[in-house]
C-alpha cells in the first residue's frame, strides 16, 4: 500500500482528486448550509441526497464504459480535457492571487442563497430550497466527477479515485458542519492553485503519452511538471501584481 502511494502517478492522482473534491465540497456545502439554516434541513438533505445519487449514476454509467476505450486514445482525450480544465482553474487562481479578479467569497455566496430562498413566495419555498440544494451539489459535484473519471480511467484506478473523492467529501462535510458558517476561512484559492497545477501536470503527461511520446524519466516526469507549473504560476502572480507606488507617484 505504501509502495503504491509512493508512486509519482498515484501521488499526483490522489492529491488532485482529494483537493478538487475538497474545494468543490466547500462551495457546495455553503449552499446546503444556507438552505438548511434559512429554510429547513429536510429540504437541504433531500436536494443533496438526490444530487449524490445522480452523480453516482454518472460515474457508474460512464466509468466502466470509458475503461474499455483503447488506453492511448483515452489518455489523449483525457489529457486534452485535463489540460483545458486545469488551465481554467490555474488561470482563475492566478488572476485572483494577483488581485485582478475578486476572490470567491463563501460569505457572499451564503448571503446570495439566503436572499434567493427568502425572495421566493411562501408556498414555493420548500421546492426552491430542494432545487437549490440539488443544483449546488450537482453542479459542483460534476466537476469532481469529471476529474475522477478522466484521472481514474486513464490510470485504470477508477476505484481509488472514487474512494479518495468520497473521503474528501465526507471529511469536508463533517468539518464543514462543525464549523458551519466559517467556510470563508478555508484557503480556497491556494487549494485551487494546487488542483490546477496537478491537473495541468497530468494533462501534459497524458497528452504526451496518448501521442506516444516517451518521457525522459518515465512517471517521475510528472513531479517535474508539478514543480514547473508551480514555478510558472508563482512567476505569473508576481508579474501581474500591481507595483507599489512611491509617494511621488513613481513605481517603487
Amino acid at each position: 500500500m505504501i509502495a503504491l502511494v509512493a508512486r509519482p502517478d498515484v501521488l499526483v492522482l490522489v492529491g488532485a482528486v482529494f483537493l478538487a473534491a475538497a474545494v468543490e465540497m466547500v462551495e457546495a456545502l455553503t449552499i446546503v448550509l444556507a438552505v438548511g439554516q434559512t429554510r429547513e434541513w429536510r429540504s437541504a438533505l433531500w436536494g443533496s441526497g438526490a444530487a449524490f445519487v445522480a452523480l453516482t449514476a454518472v460515474v457508474a454509467t460512464f466509468g466502466p464504459a470509458l475503461v474499455r476505450v483503447p488506453l492511448n486514445d483515452l489518455r489523449l482525450v483525457a489529457g486534452g480535457v485535463l489540460l483545458v480544465f486545469g488551465m481554467q482553474w490555474l488561470r482563475k487562481a492566478i488572476l485572483r492571487s494577483a488581485g485582478l479578479v475578486a476572490k470567491h467569497d463563501e460569505d457572499a455566496a451564503y448571503r446570495a442563497a439566503v436572499v434567493e430562498i427568502e425572495g421566493a413566495p411562501l408556498a414555493q419555498r420548500d421546492r426552491v430550497a430542494v432545487v437549490m440544494a440539488f443544483k449546488g451539489v450537482f453542479l459542483e459535484g460534476l466537476e469532481v466527477v469529471i476529474t475522477v473519471l478522466t484521472l481514474g480511467t486513464s490510470t485504470h484506478r477508477l476505484g481509488l479515485a472514487a474512494a479518495v473523492a468520497a473521503a474528501a467529501v465526507v471529511l469536508v462535510g463533517l468539518v464543514g458542519m462543525m464549523v458551519a458558517r466559517q467556510l470563508s476561512r478555508v484557503p480556497e484559492n491556494a487549494m485551487k492553485t494546487m488542483v490546477g497545477t496537478l491537473l495541468v501536470s497530468y494533462g501534459t503527461f497524458w497528452t504526451g503519452e496518448g501521442l506516444r511520446v516517451r518521457w525522459p524519466g518515465g512517471d517521475v516526469m510528472l513531479l517535474g511538471f508539478v514543480a514547473l507549473y508551480l514555478g510558472v504560476t508563482g512567476a505569473f502572480v508576481v508579474a501581474l501584481r500591481p507595483r507599489r507606488v512611491r509617494g511621488d507617484g513613481v513605481p517603487a
Binding site: M87, A102, T207, R212, V213, L240
Partner: protein, 97 residues
C-alpha cells in the same frame, strides 16, 4: 416551426454543457490545447524519443496559459479604467467559480 423532441432537447443540453465546460469564456485555452495536440502530433512523428518533444509540450501549455491570462488582464484593466481611476478586481460569473 416544429418544437425539438425531448431527445433533441436532451442532446442540445448535453452539447451546451460540454461547450460551456470546455470552451465557455476562455476559448483561447481550448484553441491552445487543440494547437498543442496538433503540433506535438506532427513533431513526435519524427522526434519520438527526443527531448525536444518533452520540452515543447509544457512550453506550449505555458504559452497558452500566458495568452489567456494576458487576455483576462487586458479585460480587467479595461473594466477598471471605465469605472474608477484605480485597478478594480473584476467580478466573475459565480456559476463558474
Amino acid at each position: 416551426m416544429r418544437r425539438p423532441s425531448r431527445w433533441g432537447r436532451l442532446a442540445r443540453g448535453f452539447g451546451r454543457f460540454w461547450w460551456d465546460f470546455l470552451v465557455g469564456d476562455t476559448p483561447e485555452i481550448a484553441i491552445g490545447v487543440v494547437v498543442i495536440i496538433m503540433t506535438i502530433s506532427l513533431v513526435s512523428r519524427t522526434e519520438r524519443s527526443s527531448v525536444i518533444v518533452a520540452v515543447a509540450l509544457p512550453a506550449l501549455a505555458v504559452a497558452a496559459l500566458g495568452t489567456s491570462i494576458d487576455r483576462a488582464r487586458r479585460r480587467a484593466r479595461g473594466a477598471g479604467s471605465t469605472s474608477s481611476p484605480g485597478p478594480q478586481p473584476a467580478r466573475e460569473d459565480p456559476a463558474r467559480s
